[in-house]
């Protein structure tokens, strides 16, 4: 056996651990070399910037740098919670995020179920290719396409509504419609791609179950209800729970490209607020405090949902 000795975990003092490390490096120098670029990247670009956590607790002045600026304790966090813009952005983020999670889930689940009903492989493949497409285009492209289509004067959407005799609908600058527009456009963009997971799960269902059910007299609807959906429930639960961990990121790319001053009250999310405050108003401490808050909440959510998924019997991410 290769590693029966090394499998015993010895508790070592820090000095002992260093000595053991040196021994291992001598034994497998190449392995450590291979790891160096990756480690260096993480240290330089991920860990060094973590000093930024401190900015949230200081009155950051660019001239004095992070270490020279004066301490401010939790003042910025208090200011954050009192700021109406932040509360509004936080509320918007949660509302938009949760709506997106639900709508995306339902839509991609339905898509997978319906795609499964195709008899012809070629037709299904073609349709899949088409609906996966928007996932690969950036919101810059799709955003401008949408602005084109939703235009009040000659956009296609309003042209069709006018043709049916209705009144043109304002989807881009009306705060009441903005959230709905965000959610639905994201569902169409990502729905196809998200349905891949469910399609893979469906394809792993044993067809003999369907045959047996059919012989017992179940029509396709009953088969769907009693075979397909129960088999998909574990996968669906895991996907749903995991997506909850991203509830604080409502999609910066999309909102940034589509929002405008008219829809700020319903469309501003935490990420765009941070971007504006930190990069434009040069209020770094505000941005850092908001970032830190978001980071802590997101991290706890990820760990909690991962634990929840493991408890339910699935395999978590880590």
């Amino acid at each position: 056996m290769l590693s029966s000795v090394e499998n015993k975990r010895k508790r070592r003092s820090p000095v002992g651990a260093c000595k053991e490390l040196l021994r291992q490096v001598k034994k497998h120098p190449v392995l450590y070399f291979m790891l160096i670029p990756c480690l260096a990247y993480f240290v330089i670009f991920k860990y060094v910037p973590m000093q930024g956590f401190l900015i949230a607790f200081k009155n950051f002045r660019a001239t004095k740098g992070i270490w020279g600026s004066a301490w401010a304790g939790t003042r910025h966090f208090e200011l954050l919670f009192r700021d109406a813009a932040f509360r509004s952005a936080f509320r918007n983020t949660i509302i938009i995020s949760v709506s997106k999670i639900i709508v995306n889930f339902v839509f991609s689940f339905l898509l997978a179920l319906m795609l499964n009903e195709f008899r012809s492989q070629k037709l299904r493949g073609t349709v899949q290719t088409i609906i996966y497409l928007p996932h690969f285009l950036t919101w810059v492209v799709i955003g401008s396409l949408l602005n084109n289509m939703f235009s009040l004067s000659n956009g296609v959407v309003n042209e069709i509504i006018k043709w049916f005799g209705g009144k043109p609908i304002n989807l881009t600058t009306n705060p009441a419609n903005f959230r709905g527009m965000l959610v639905i456009t994201e569902a169409i963009k990502e729905g196809g791609w998200n349905s891949i997971i469910y399609m893979a799960a469906i394809s792993s269902i044993d067809t003999q179950m369907y045959e047996a059910a059919c012989i017992d007299g179940a029509n396709r609807w009953k088969q769907l209800l009693y075979i397909t959906i129960p088999s998909l429930l574990p996968t669906a639960t895991i996907m749903l729970i995991l997506s909850l961990s991203h509830v604080l990121s409502a999609g910066f790319d999309q909102v940034y490209v589509l929002y405008n001053p008219a829809v700020m009250e319903t469309g501003d999310i935490i990420d765009t607020l941070i971007y504006r405050k930190a990069l434009m108003n040069v209020n770094y401490s505000y941005g850092a405090a908001a970032d830190l808050l978001k980071g802590v909440i997101s991290a706890s959510l990820i760990l909690a949902t991962n634990k929840a998924v493991k408890l339910l019997g699935g395999e978590g991410m880590f």
Binding site: Y41, Y47, G52, V141, P261, F318
Partner: protein, 292 residues
């Protein structure tokens, strides 16, 4: 396609097939039409575009929008930047990530747990935009192309997926190679890499798409036009509400058909190769998500 008795018995009723047809027909239209509209618009003079409510074919076909756009000079540079950043970024990403993933998948690697925890921690906590910016400034990377390559150099999530894949490969591969006298690097490079081609190919695709489509790094870390990627250039052309962009108002493209030509240029490369590679993308997603 001959249907057996079970398939005939289990087939969908005709009205359901009709519903399916309508549903997916609408969906595909919704997905394809915007792109088609813009594609047609980029090849038509603006007057013709405005006059037709639904643009199905390019009336008065012309390439004036494209020639005008290229004459503005930035497009070729942006294209070059994007290709440079994508190719080099993907190559470095693949190289470093695969080496690290292999090392982390070896059970006899001392310090495995520590490094893994490091990677996970970096994944969960992001130091924030400002510190990253200050960091890049201290390294002298602001406003260079290298910041676009180095800042997103390795994606921790892909690293973990690749490592999981390497862990799933049979141990006998390594054992037999060592019996034949191979050292660490030879085992990795000559044995594992060729056997791991599926994950390497799919990671390569994902990373290339990520790099090609990224424009937020441009917004955060660069200013001015020299270092723009294609997507960023497109963004500048199309959005004039951003303070940072307003200073460079000579880049504002008021001509709608030139904007559409810009959209086509930014989206075309991916859209052309995508149909052929689509099944690899789908497979890659499954490798990462569903185990077994």
């Amino acid at each position: 396609m001959k249907k057996n008795a079970w398939e005939k018995m289990n087939a969908n009723p005709w009205w359901f097939k009709l519903i399916l047809l309508l549903f997916f027909g609408t969906l595909c239209l919704l997905t394809l039409y915007p792109m088609w509209d813009v594609l047609m618009g980029s090849f038509m003079p603006l007057s013709a575009y405005m006059n037709m409510p639904i643009r199905l074919y390019p009336k008065n076909f012309t390439v004036a929008a494209y020639t005008g756009l290229f004459q503005m000079g930035d497009v070729l540079r942006a294209l070059g930047n994007t290709v440079f950043v994508t190719v080099i970024g993907t190559a470095l990403h693949m190289l470093f990530m695969n080496m690290a993933a292999y090392v982390l998948s070896r059970r006899y690697f001392y310090g495995r747990k520590v490094v893994l925890k490091m990677v996970l921690f970096a994944m969960l906590f992001y130091g924030g935009l400002i510190p990253s910016y200050i960091n890049a400034k201290n390294l002298g990377l602001i406003d260079t192309l290298w910041v676009l390559i180095l800042v997103p150099l390795i994606n921790p999530y892909y690293l973990i997926v690749t490592r999981t894949y390497y862990m799933g490969m049979p141990e006998s591969l390594e054992e037999s190679a060592r019996l034949d006298g191979a050292g660490d690097f030879t085992v990795f490079f000559r044995i594992y890499v060729p056997s791991a081609l599926p994950i390497i190919a799919t990671m390569c695709l994902f990373i290339t798409v990520d790099r090609w489509n990224n424009y937020t790094n441009n917004i955060y870390y660069t200013s001015g036009n020299n270092t723009d990627t294609l997507q960023m250039m497109l963004y500048r052309m199309l959005n004039n509400t951003d303070h940072a962009v307003a200073e460079f108002s000579e880049n504002l493209v008021n001509d709608k058909s030139r904007r559409m030509a810009g959209i086509v240029i930014a989206a075309a490369p991916l859209m052309c190769i995508y149909p052929f590679l689509q099944k690899y993308f789908a497979k890659g997603l499954m490798i990462g998500s569903i185990k077994g």
